[in-house]
Symmetry: none
Subunit: 402 residues, 2 copies
């Protein structure tokens, strides 16, 4: 309902919005009552922006719900994370810069090792090098042809991971996964889970036979395990929904994939935060929405490294003048979810957010941290509503009703 | 929507959750600007838990809505209080430990006094003693037989209050109440309010005739007034929805009834808070969710007795070490609604809540009270979402999406 209202109120202008997303930003204290990672970090620049701007706390999916990065990013971009809870196969395909077409079926594939009795002895084929994966995908691309005449694509992801894409009419994702999840068991059949899926199941059954035959001479990677089936239907894009011309700057496949799915232009691959900021600077005139994704806050949180997560936040803070020096009309600094180092994983805790714009109403938060955000003027809000607030502060939403 | 998500994310584990519910906890100052009952109470133990834990304010049904205890408790347990707004007849039946069966029709009945012209002269039959009520119910049980062949049960509640239960096919609750609500008027007809209810209406009309005939010789209790018709259909239980094994410790029929309806094991009747805590301690190993209900905060609020409500809160605080000494993984202290003594009744004001768990994020609330809860990290949230937060802190919810 709300999204329809927003789409109807859109006004196009040249004002620029930056979403600076520190993945897994939200945290917890290392010692009872102590500071969180963000509170422990020395962040004079963010603190100055927080004091002048408006802060708050975001719930990615709902109270108590720990989100994966996929749903959390959809929420950040104003797409309901439950409605748009898409399969990992689809995010994988989008992240590989594969030329996607409507109605394609995407499948996450692992190269694996199978013994002569058909039992899986290694579900990751000893983590074969990416080069070997590329060689085998090229071989399969040449040898495998589907009985139905549909096309099959084999695309290397990394190490033992690949994407299998099927293209043709009437593909259906309601197929059983073949990964037995344990070694010592044979692969499962890609059975049809609905009558609509029978023809797709027949194609995949034949595909596996051909794969096994083609890879029979391989010592490690002699089969493929399939899961995460997802058909692709085009998403309403940022241009359609918000009239925006967006650029995504992200170094990890999944985030690049989500940006692709939402019709963002995705910048060439970068490796460091400095490189990401350079790309932002170089492209600042050509777009009016920028998604800058910083992965390392989440990685250090997942590793359980409190002090190192603090350091990443401090590094981003030190680079921040280069970002607000570009004079964006709206600068939002937040995360997609919390990844407290003490939990070494994602959590349900709400995510601190900072909004800097000329039209901010001052609030009680004098620095950027979880406690301070409790007194922020944005209050506590569903993450999916943040996008509308950003658009409003950029003058991109007209009045509702007379 | 959210409830379906929660049910899909459930992980079973042995972690233990306690809901300590002080009925009608929320309050108002006795003098302008003064402390509320909870703020006036000396509660060193709750204050310590609040300082280390996370606080907030709960809206039982919605902004401005004063809830009955039924809807408020459904909300506490994560059941939407509007969807699950069940008839009082049903809550009464469940609270009486009556052996309920799917499709039964439950009716709240009052013994009343009727004059020779058929006018009601006392809607409560002079509050006859419970023993008299039992004697009359036994008599009616022997004498009354429905023309349709359906079964009728007469069950004593207390004083003039009883439960009438009908059992058989195609019963329908769409029947007019017979209580005229004023003395000097005749009882109303139990008219069918829909064509589906006609056969049920005929049975009840006949039942009343037989009741009046059977009780004709009684001085006070010579008729029954009927209201609160409710058919019983089984509720999704705590086990089904949350994978929990719950124990309810409550001394009042209605709360025991709600617990029954949600598939909780209901502990044997207790009379004091000390007895309730003893039951909690004795059963702590056998369950993983505990609903401990304390009625007296609400009773003193209803009576308009500020100082006495304060005393009940202080008594609970003094006993609190015995509860957290059990080392629950999640301890929630809250009420079902507000019952400010100055209003001598339920109110719409949000209810203070305190959550104590290892995974709490510290907030700005340094003690447990309505003002302090405004700066709590839980913020202000719909009461029905509290359950998901409790489950999350007990590690009972897995990640949503990839």
């Amino acid at each position: 309902m709300e999204k329809e209202i927003i789409s109807q109120l859109i006004v196009k202008n040249d004002k620029k919005i930056i979403f600076l997303i520190m993945d897994g930003l939200g945290g917890l204290p290392q010692i009872p009552g102590g500071p969180t990672e963000l509170e422990a970090a020395q962040t004079p620049n963010m603190d100055r922006l927080a004091a002048a701007g408006t802060c708050g706390l975001l719930d990615p999916v709902g109270y108590g719900i720990t989100p994966g990065s996929g749903p959390a990013h959809f929420a950040l971009f104003g797409y309901d994370p439950v409605t748009f809870n898409v399969g990992r196969g689809l995010l994988g395909a989008a992240g590989l810069d594969f030329a996607m077409a409507e109605a394609d079926l995407y499948i996450r594939a692992n190269f694996a090792t199978m013994d002569k009795n058909g039992r899986i002895t290694d579900r990751r084929a000893g983590r074969i090098p990416t080069e070997k994966n590329q060689e085998l995908c090229a071989l399969l691309q040449k040898k495998v042809a589907l009985p139905s005449g549909r096309q099959a694509f084999f695309v290397t992801e990394k190490e033992h991971r690949a994407l299998v894409a099927l293209r043709g009419a009437n593909l259906c994702e309601e197929i059983a996964e073949t990964d037995p999840q344990k070694t010592g068991l044979p692969a499962l059949n890609p059975a049809a889970l609905s009558s609509r899926a029978e023809q797709t199941s027949a194609d995949i059954t034949d595909l596996i036979k051909q794969v096994n035959k083609t890879l029979a001479g391989e010592e490690k990677a002699n089969t493929l395990l399939l899961r995460g089936y997802a058909c692709y239907s085009r998403f309403p894009s940022f241009a359609e929904r918000y009239g925006l011309n967006p650029l995504a700057i992200a170094s990890y496949p999944m985030y690049r994939g989500i940006a692709h799915l939402l019709g963002m232009k995705v910048a060439t691959l970068t490796n460091t935060i400095e490189e990401e900021i350079a790309v932002l600077r170089d492209n600042f005139n050509a777009y009016n929405f920028f998604f800058v994704h910083i992965k390392y806050t989440d990685s250090r949180g997942e590793d359980g490294k409190f002090a190192e997560k603090v350091k990443v936040i401090e590094k981003v803070d030190a680079l921040l003048p280069e970002i607000y020096g570009l004079n964006p009309d709206v600068l939002i600094i937040t995360g997609d979810h919390s990844t407290p180092a003490v939990m070494a994983g994602h959590s349900w805790h709400p995510v601190p957010v900072l909004l800097a714009a000329k039209t901010c109403r001052p609030d009680l938060s004098a620095n950027f941290g979880e406690r301070a955000c409790i007194t922020g003027g944005l209050g506590r809000l569903p993450m999916k509503n943040l996008m509308a607030v950003a658009l409003a502060h950029a003058g991109k939403l007209q009045k509702f009703g007379a």
